[in-house]
Symmetry: C2
């Protein structure tokens, strides 16, 4: 096989001009049926595929969008990625995946379009990004933000009602009679992200139940990984008055906590309850299975892709949108379900 065929080769083969071939490819309306058929045939015969670099150079579009997440080995993100790809597929787009390792520099680089040049737009799930970063971003690259809403009025946004979700989960534990509920991964003073919102929701639930807030029960962690949950749970249980429930701000930490509690000989949910966030697949299969707050990942993916495509088609179209996706508390064995 020779070199990859170009548009020009197709044109010669079909006996028309290159531009006509381009018109066929792009479904331009004024092309005769006859010509269209001839071009199609030539395309098939030569196995022609449009060169995206050439196209992008000319028209600045690639038909691809990029999903930027902190870490794909955090199951929530890989599950979300699956939904986003499915939705993009339905809309005729291709998704490129980019992971930043939760490194601010990399999130910035994505925003600046360094590693993301082939993309018409970004769906970005930030972890380390500062509000200021978003303000200074390149406005020519449409961005939809997931999760926390860093800066009002800067980009479209999709997320769940984090405060409400944490409140729901806390109320579930309170309804079961739990009174000393620890928050693993909770926000200390100064934090601004979803951890802050969720911690607020936890406090709201306590207040509504007339219970005092004990800052000592809010345990910040380094990252939202298995071992962080295990470590925090162990430390909590070694206290003089250990908690009777653990509200973990993601499932990985909750599963790590379950393991730690097992090693300490505590029984879940007999001795204490454990609740997570995200509803990753592992949570259905753990022993005990994990009660968790399930964000509607499909809704999030659909809304994010929709908003992004709208923004790409019309960068100045309408006001910024903020889509609040649904969530629900799924009660499983770890809290008596």
């Amino acid at each position: 096989m020779a070199a990859r065929p170009r548009l020009k080769d197709v044109a010669e083969y079909a006996g028309v001009s290159p531009k006509t071939v381009s018109n066929v490819i792009n479904d331009f309306e004024h092309v005769s049926e006859q010509t269209r058929a001839a071009v199609r045939e030539a395309i098939d015969a030569l196995g022609y595929r449009v060169n995206i670099a050439g196209r992008q150079l000319r028209q600045g579009r690639t038909g691809m969008i990029t999903l930027v997440v902190p870490e794909l080995d955090v199951a929530y993100f890989s599950e979300l990625a699956k939904h986003v790809m499915a939705e993009a597929d339905r809309r005729g787009r291709t998704v490129l995946l980019h992971q930043t390792g939760a490194v601010r520099q990399r999130e910035l680089a994505a925003l600046r379009g360094f590693d993301t040049q082939f993309s018409d737009g970004l769906i970005l799930s930030p972890l380390a990004l500062l509000p200021h970063d978003l303000a200074t971003r390149d406005r020519r690259l449409p961005v939809v933000l997931l999760g926390e809403r860093s800066v009002e009025g800067s980009t479209d946004h999709v997320g769940i009602d984090n405060t409400r979700a944490a409140r729901d989960a806390t109320e579930h534990l309170l309804a079961r009679g739990r009174r000393r509920i620890a928050v693993i991964g909770g926000a200390v003073r100064g934090r601004q992200g979803t951890d802050r919102l969720r911690t607020d929701g936890y406090r709201e639930a306590l207040k509504a139940a007339g219970l005092p807030f004990d800052a000592g029960l809010v345990v910040p962690v380094e990252a939202y990984h298995w071992q962080d949950g295990a470590r925090a749970a162990t430390a909590l249980m070694e206290r003089a008055t250990p908690p009777d429930a653990l509200l973990c701000l993601n499932d990985h930490m909750a599963l790590g906590a379950l393991r730690a509690l097992h090693e300490l000989g505590r029984s879940v949910p007999d001795d204490l309850d454990v609740v997570g966030f995200d509803d990753i697949e592992a949570s259905r299969f753990s022993v005990p299975s994990l009660t968790t707050v399930a964000p509607d990942k499909q809704e999030i993916a659909r809304a994010a892709v929709s908003l992004l495509l709208e923004r790409i088609d019309d960068p100045d179209g309408g006001p910024l949108q903020d889509h609040v996706a649904g969530h629900q508390v799924i009660v499983r064995e770890s809290s008596g379900g």
Copy 2:
């Protein structure tokens, strides 16, 4: 801010020709220190970033490679992705991630370079690909195959010694006195992938121990997911003479099996042993923790990136390579560790 600056803008700002700027960017050696400094300053002043589409159009290279995996929510792949990205980073390349959903058409599309045009080469972990597909691939796109080696002499390849690995795992179970070892996800007649190799290894171990092979203990599954493991384990335990050990060909299935056994009231490892493959993070935290065959993911990633970059730099360089990465059986609670 106006439109994105081009090479030409930098050239004008620095008072040199565009080509000189290009020379600076690409570290061409014959550029005077003075000119180089002036150009660097202009680049900084304008915030110039090279346009990869333009570059690719001209020189056919992007400096990016693509990792194509079946499903990122299979933890083995997301963990591998992390290693590949780290290694690529070390080598100054950017990795694009592409998931196929284990759909053959998508794997083919990747091989044909449809969704992968921005890539100088592919690291492909196939699931549904047929040997014939590889033979008809576009030879201009360097490819390194992971996992099974579909077709001899077609691409470079990196993987572990699957037969040996399964044999090691089986021998571990035999050494613990297990005699009825089931293989979940094992290969039936006609299959060719890693499942075949691993099933062969299992048989070798039985043979070496002088034990008969019972085809009824090899249970094929639809996919390598949690629920497949749970379902297969349940079915096996309902038999008249249930197995005394489960060799699951990945960790997800093994964890699903652990859950199913818990529901059936069987104790692991007292009643029976469970062993997995892949050593995903969840396996360290399950209850009981999971004995598993750990492939050296870092070695796999390094070898794959190295081989690919060599092939990109010199497409006709030397014979095809086949790197066999290390593995080890990590004994945890699920088999008495």
